[in-house]
Amino acid sequence: MTLFSVARKNIAGNFKSYLLYLVSMVFSIVIYFTFVSLQYSTEIASAIQSSRGVQSIFLQASILLILFAAVFIWYSSSFFNRRRKKEIGLYSLLGVRKRTIGWMMFYENMIMGALALAVGIVIGALLSKLFTLMMLRLLDSAVEISFALSPAAIGNTVIVFAILIVVTSIRAYLLIYRFRLIELFQAEKQAESRPKGSPIVAILAVVVLAASYWLILQPIATSQQFSITLLVFMIGVISGTYLLFRFGAVRFLLVLAKNKASYYQGVRFVGAAQLLFRMAGHVRMLTVVSLLSAVTIIAVSIGASAYYEIEREAARTAPFSYAHLSKGDKLDAEIERVITADKEHPIIAKLDIPILGTTADASELAVVPSKFTVQDVPVKLMSAATFNAIADALGRDEQVRLTGLEAAIVQPLDTDHASDDYVGRSITLKQAGEDRNVTFGRFIDERVMNWSFPDLIVVVSEELYGEFARQSAPAIYKAYKVEDERSARATSEALLGLDAKEAELTVHYAEYRGILEAGGVNLFVLGFLGLVFMAATGSIIYFKQLTEAQSDSSRYAILRNIGVSRREISISIAMQSLFVFGLPLAVGILHSALFLQVLMNFNLIGKEATIPIVMSIAAYAIIYTGYYGLTVQSCRRIVEA
């Protein structure tokens, strides 16, 4: 019998105990291969016009995934090896040479790795089609999907995982050399002891966390300063979270024990003591899980809020379905003909928007567009009546009423200007005759027309507008609102095909598509990473709890003998798992909420993102709860067996 066949028989014989390790390897391979397939997919490339930027997003994400796979496989292989120490010890005791045992372990790991790689690629190939479908759906694009495998994706995956598998196999080979024989037999007995929870360090942990968030909320001047701040913030958050679990959680359990009258009632204190006993070994896992949860929620929230914002952003960039500057009757008529010809998208509203261009002295304003001298900034004048007509056409309730020298300002696009920057301040509008000093009474945050630089739209009273209109003729913008503008692909292409460069033609559909593609890819990549991290965190706790249930089952047998009912034991398991699952989830959600608030403060995500953020957190919590239920169920089965 060759060594190779012994290794093969080992795997076949103890398949069940090998299964867990195999499944975790397959899992990371499936994920990586699925992702790489998407990266090389021609369907997706054709659905995305701006493919270079997207390729770099994919590349960065795949590096992150390699890291994840490496950590995950490393983790599960050490979990697996720990369970086999006794078996290896037995071989050694029976007189098998260390070298022989080492090679046997090496072969085993290689066989399992090869098996996992094959299975992983097959499953990944199927899954990648599913994800391609999902992604194309996010991109709102109808492309037929073929079932072709990408050789580049297979090559990439095989190389990456072959390296990982060889490294873990070498590690398996070395296992027998790392321990003395006696240590192999003591594998299951690891010293655990009841920790002490210092209240001072627990408070210190909270202080460290608070200081970290305070630090990152400070205004930042240079990018170098930013990277230093970010580094300090990360160190602060990681160490703060660690200390919080190490001392805070322990403290919490010890405080429970203080109230003896309620602590020693029923089986509860047994569970609490068990948690306390395990705490030292749990702290690292709890920290990792809570931070990974936070990262997942943040990633998904960013993607979701960007996607959620697409329609609004498109509406801001192009409030009308089509709009252009009138450049002679011939072009106007031609554009109108194309729009009217589209029977699927009938016109809801058609509007002429007269705009007077002039300059103003804006030295009293807090913010002025760059590149212009403050005394001579171009502004666009719009009459109150025109504004109200636009609001009507776009189906908005907002109306303005202005008299004399009152004025209103429309928020310039893509700025964080707020009401305080304008209301109560005045600017001087210049004309051939007497200059007029108008004061802003209102700040309007909804867009009324397409953007052009500089984006200062000043709404003035009828009289004042009339006065300026006598001096120079206004430019006329022709604006159309049609039904279901987001699907008007053919008309949009026809319009964009016209020779209308001078006319500043803006098409809602084109703007919408551009934003959708960027947002869709972001949501997909971030969502995918979120899913992977989610699965990873869930599995980490799951495996850990299962191992513990195995070593706890003797304790539960004792309790059963003393007269604890099955139900009480079930509840005890559920409560202990709740602690192990609930604590990092709560801390993770708190971290993500705080960090997203930071992002909002810096305007990196919109203020309206609350809904997608809440939805992301809820989705995470629901899947996480599913993991909790599964874990409790499996633990019960192990304990009752």
């Binding site: 020693y264 009632q265 029923g266 004792i558 009912s565 139900r567």
Partner: protein, 255 residues
């Protein structure tokens, strides 16, 4: 006096279809209140099986078991759990202590389970601490204890809830002779002063000599029994040894 244990025609068969081994056959046993009964017999004679059946940890294949007048075979899982913690104190051969709890917490377990007020719990441990000589180790963990200390802790836990019946499975098996004597003295004290009913499985003729009656099992059947009566412990010890000699192969187990 009342009967604490009454079994009629109890049989226990292990295994299913084909390979069957009979552990106990037609056991009729009656233990009265206040008795200290020993059960002896060679390995595989069914001693521990009998004890497990009485402790409701295992179920008999056929026959009737009544403890303190209650038929335990018809009970639900929940009723059995309650019964176990209120009526029975079990001293396990391998102690069955939870290593995550201190000695005191281990002893408290049965009281906590039946939701005894904390004041009462403190009082009872205080009472028992000197009887079993464990006052100095109350705040230690089982891993820090010697075998004798663990066994005394297990014994304390078995009696803290003042059960009707104490079952002990080889309680002196892992002890040196000094610790064994201490524990047996404690059990005898419980039996004499507190009128506790005790059933003890043992290999050890010396331990058996503390009993008021000793039953001998062989191949799953009741073989014979010895009653101490007015004899001294030394005289009873001799009688026990004599019976063990009759077992033949059983002699090895005596030592």
């Amino acid at each position: 006096m009342k009967n604490v244990i009454e079994t009629t025609n109890v049989t226990k068969v292990y295994g299913a279809k084909g390979i069957v081994s009979t552990a106990l056959e037609h056991i009729d046993l009656t233990v009265r209140e206040g008795e200290f009964v020993g059960i002896m017999g060679p390995s595989g004679s069914g001693k521990s099986t009998l004890l497990n059946l009485l402790a409701t940890i295992d179920q008999s294949t056929s026959g009737d078991i009544r403890i303190d007048g209650t038929d335990i075979l018809g009970m639900s899982e929940k009723q059995l759990s309650t019964f176990r913690r209120e009526k029975i104190g079990f001293i396990f051969q391998d102690y069955n202590l939870l290593d995550t709890l201190t000695v005191k917490e281990n002893i408290w377990l049965p009281l906590a389970l039946s939701r005894t007020p904390i004041g009462e719990m403190e009082r009872r441990v205080d009472e028992i601490a000197d009887k079993f000589g464990i006052r100095g180790i109350l705040d230690k963990y089982p891993t820090q204890l010697s075998g004798g200390q663990k066994q005394r802790t297990a014994a304390s836990r078995a009696i803290i809830a003042r059960p009707r019946l104490i079952l002990a499975d080889e309680p002196t098996g892992a002890l040196d002779s000094k610790s064994a004597t201490d524990l047996l003295d404690s059990l005898q004290g419980l039996n004499r002063q507190d009128k506790a009913t005790i059933l003890m499985v043992t290999h050890d003729a010396y331990a058996a000599s503390y009993c008021t009656r000793v039953l001998f099992l062989k191949d799953g059947r009741l073989f014979t029994e010895l009653v101490k009566g007015d004899a001294t412990r030394q005289a009873f010890f001799k009688k026990v040894l004599d019976v063990l000699n009759v077992f033949g192969g059983g002699v090895n187990d005596v030592i």
